[in-house]
């Protein structure tokens, strides 16, 4: 285990100022429009201090809590995904010239960003997105640029939400790797650790005091509490085989009766990567932009090939989503595409419980 130190609440803003003087723009959580959202922030004052976040299937509520902690809530409305794999990205532009059109590629302007408050589920998801976008035969230049400019301040979860199930997927609540700095929040400050060279540089700038023995014990204890408190668990032994041998299960029909095929689940999922490419031609016809935007397997055009929509019913789209996430992802990336963050359950307007559905369809009984 790397060196650790204690950062008192009064000194917490040093983290921001040090990151800023190292050239990073800080991205962190705030309460915006009744949810915890990540956005550009400049100081600790904007963090969601002292709040309570109650999360249930299809319901998220923020209220004032009876504590002064900054990260005493399960996770935000989105993970790190929107900051690296942008919901809309200009891929290139074609422009008419005398000779015919030519292609222009956009410059990738990657602003160095420090993401403050990444959770274990987010970092596990980040690893998966890295695999998908960066480590294949065709590294994605946009994702890679943003990724390479990213500094990660992880936070171990001290509170779980009703929809969280990271303990069962093995991804949380404790962060194992993938961070530059890691925080455990206690009642009066943070245990700080570093996980990289970049992290060490900031670590060394902070006014840290030694971590007390109780501090270490408390930090371990609150993680253990989170594990004990999680109400949901994905029974993922044999999930892959079970889903693919239950492709005609009646439960797909039952879930389709509730499902709105709105795609909210895929959009908040930190590992989902589907996108479509769209062409936006200027009115004068002289240039055209080729843009990619997030798509969802719940959309009709996702499986369209001339004249047919392969997944023309919600039942088939829901099955695609779940069988990919929990089944075929295994073959593609050696693990499921689910890191237990619970967002697809919290943010489903129809309040569908992904874990319950999965266990019903494919759990070993």
């Amino acid at each position: 285990m790397s060196r650790s130190g204690f950062l008192q609440y009064e000194k917490f803003n040093q983290l921001f100022s040090q990151l800023q003087s190292a050239g990073y723009g800080c991205v962190g959580p705030s309460v915006i429009d009744g949810a915890v959202q990540f956005g550009k922030i400049s100081s600790v004052a904007q963090l969601p201090q002292g709040i309570e976040l109650t999360v249930k299937p299809g319901s998220v509520r923020v209220a004032k809590g009876d504590h002064q902690r900054y990260f005493a809530w399960p996770n935000g409305a989105q993970g790190i995904k929107p900051w690296l794999y942008r919901s809309r990205e200009l891929l290139w532009r074609a422009e008419q010239t005398e000779q015919g059109f030519v292609f222009n590629r956009p410059e990738v302007n990657a602003e160095p960003i420090a993401f403050i408050g990444a959770r274990a589920c987010d970092l596990a998801a980040l690893q998966l997105q890295d695999l998908h976008f960066m480590y294949g035969d065709y590294p994605d230049p946009f994702y890679s640029a943003h990724r390479n400019a990213l500094f990660i301040v992880g936070v171990n979860c001290s509170h779980t939400g009703n929809t969280c199930f990271c303990a069962s997927t093995g991804d949380g609540p404790e962060i194992q790797s993938g961070f530059d700095l890691l925080l455990d929040e206690l009642d009066d400050g943070f245990i700080v650790r570093f996980g990289s060279e970049k992290g060490l540089k900031i670590f060394e700038q902070l006014e840290l005091t030694p971590v007390s023995a109780e501090g270490h014990v408390d930090a371990k204890a609150q993680i253990a509490e989170v594990i004990a408190a999680q109400e949901r668990a994905l029974l993922h032994e044999n999930m892959h085989a079970n889903i693919f041998s239950n492709l005609d299960d009646r439960e797909w029909d039952s879930v389709a009766e509730k499902c709105l095929a709105c795609g909210n689940c895929t959009m908040v999922c930190p590992t989902c990567f589907c996108h479509r490419e769209v062409e936006v031609q200027a009115l004068d016809g002289k240039s055209s932009q080729h843009i990619r935007e997030w798509d969802s397997c719940f959309n009709q055009d996702h499986s369209y090939i001339h004249g047919i929509t392969i997944r023309d019913e919600t039942r088939l789209r829901y099955r695609q989503w779940m069988s990919h996430k929990l089944g075929s992802w295994r073959d593609q990336y050696d693990r499921t595409g689910c890191t237990g963050c619970g967002r697809c359950i919290s943010w489903c307007p129809a309040a569908i419980d992904f874990v319950a559905e999965a266990n019903l369809i494919a759990g070993d009984s």
Binding site: L91, W92, A94, Q96, Q99, G100, F101, F103, R105, E107, V108, N109, A110, E111, P112, H132, F133, G136, D137, Y138, P139, D140, P141, S144, A145, A149, F244, L247, F273, C274, H275, R276, E277, V278, E279, Q281, G285, S288, H290, R292, D295, C297, D301, H302, S303, Y304, I305, H306, G307, I310, E313, R315, L316, Q320, H324, G327, S328, R330, D331, Q332
Partner: protein, 281 residues
């Protein structure tokens, strides 16, 4: 702030239409040259691979590489929808965009000395044409060549002449079927492609079968061939799915665990057996 030009795998290259050939009322062939001469010389492909072709202001679509003739890249395109309709309007001298080639082609290399069987159906058998041509051109490199093709109506058959030429080749069998034809015609059977299976002569233990056509036809044929004794791993098929990026990022072409664009479009039967022909995949 770092602004660095990084290789952009989504970016196509400009290419010029050198010649345009109208094959049938709704099928045309382009012969193309990259504007960048060096790129043009470097371009290589395998039979069964495809390119992403871009139509200015409209969009990009996957199209199999048909051939390289007289040092020009050829694509044969059937007009079905928006992009292909717009492409049909272009003339020699116009530009399009190309990136590729992508995916895994037919296992032609592994076929040396073996019998090669092509089973195609419908109009969309473009991915197989270049492979057939290759085998036909070197009749001594391979064992028997058997081509089975079915269409709805005899008149749907593209390149009837081409098939007649192949029929003349040594050690070659061309079998044709029309599923909706009412009368008998010489060289034609009535029915689906499977009616031809009985007449096809090839070494079931030492052959490679390549399938191309609608999913249902491919899964049915593969099953029957396996029953007839062709080892499953010697049966290959080419799939078609929605493709936006062609490099395994966009997720549209997923077929069970496979990305058709990079793991395919050509698959061996065992690789996709689990979901082939299953509604919704």
């Amino acid at each position: 702030m770092s602004a660095q030009p990084i290789a952009n795998p989504y970016l196509p290259y400009e290419a010029e239409i050198v010649e345009r050939i109208q094959e049938t009322p709704d099928v045309f062939t382009w012969r193309l040259r990259f504007v960048d001469e060096q790129l043009h010389q470097q371009y290589e492909f395998q039979h069964g691979q495809f390119n992403m072709l871009y139509q200015f202001g409209v969009g990009e679509i996957p199209v199999s590489v048909k051939n390289r003739e007289q040092n020009l890249l050829t694509h044969t395109i059937r007009v079905v929808g928006r992009v292909t309709k717009a492409m049909a309007e272009l003339k020699a001298g116009h530009r399009i965009g190309i990136r590729g080639p992508y995916g895994r082609g037919w296992p032609i290399q592994d076929c040396t000395g073996k019998d090669v069987v092509f089973i195609t159906a419908g109009l969309g058998c473009a991915p197989a044409i270049s492979a057939i041509q290759h085998v036909a051109e070197c009749r001594t490199c391979f064992g028997r060549l058997v081509i089975m093709q079915s269409v709805k109506h005899r008149s749907d058959m593209l390149w009837q002449k081409q098939y007649d030429e192949w029929r003349q080749l040594p050690n070659t069998q061309v079998l044709l079927a029309a599923s909706r034809e009412k009368t008998n015609w010489p060289n034609w059977e009535r029915g689906r492609v499977s009616v031809l299976f009985e007449d096809a002569i090839y070494d079931k233990q030492n052959c490679t079968v390549m399938l191309c056509g609608p999913d249902g036809m491919m899964s049915g044929s593969a099953r029957m061939l396996a029953e007839l004794g062709v080892p499953e791993e010697h049966i290959y098929l080419s799939l078609e799915r929605n493709m936006q990026c062609a490099i395994g990022h966009c997720g549209h072409c997923q077929f069970g665990s496979a990305f058709v664009c990079k793991d395919g479009p050509v698959f061996s039967y065992p690789e996709v057996k689990e979901v082939l022909g299953h509604r919704g995949f």
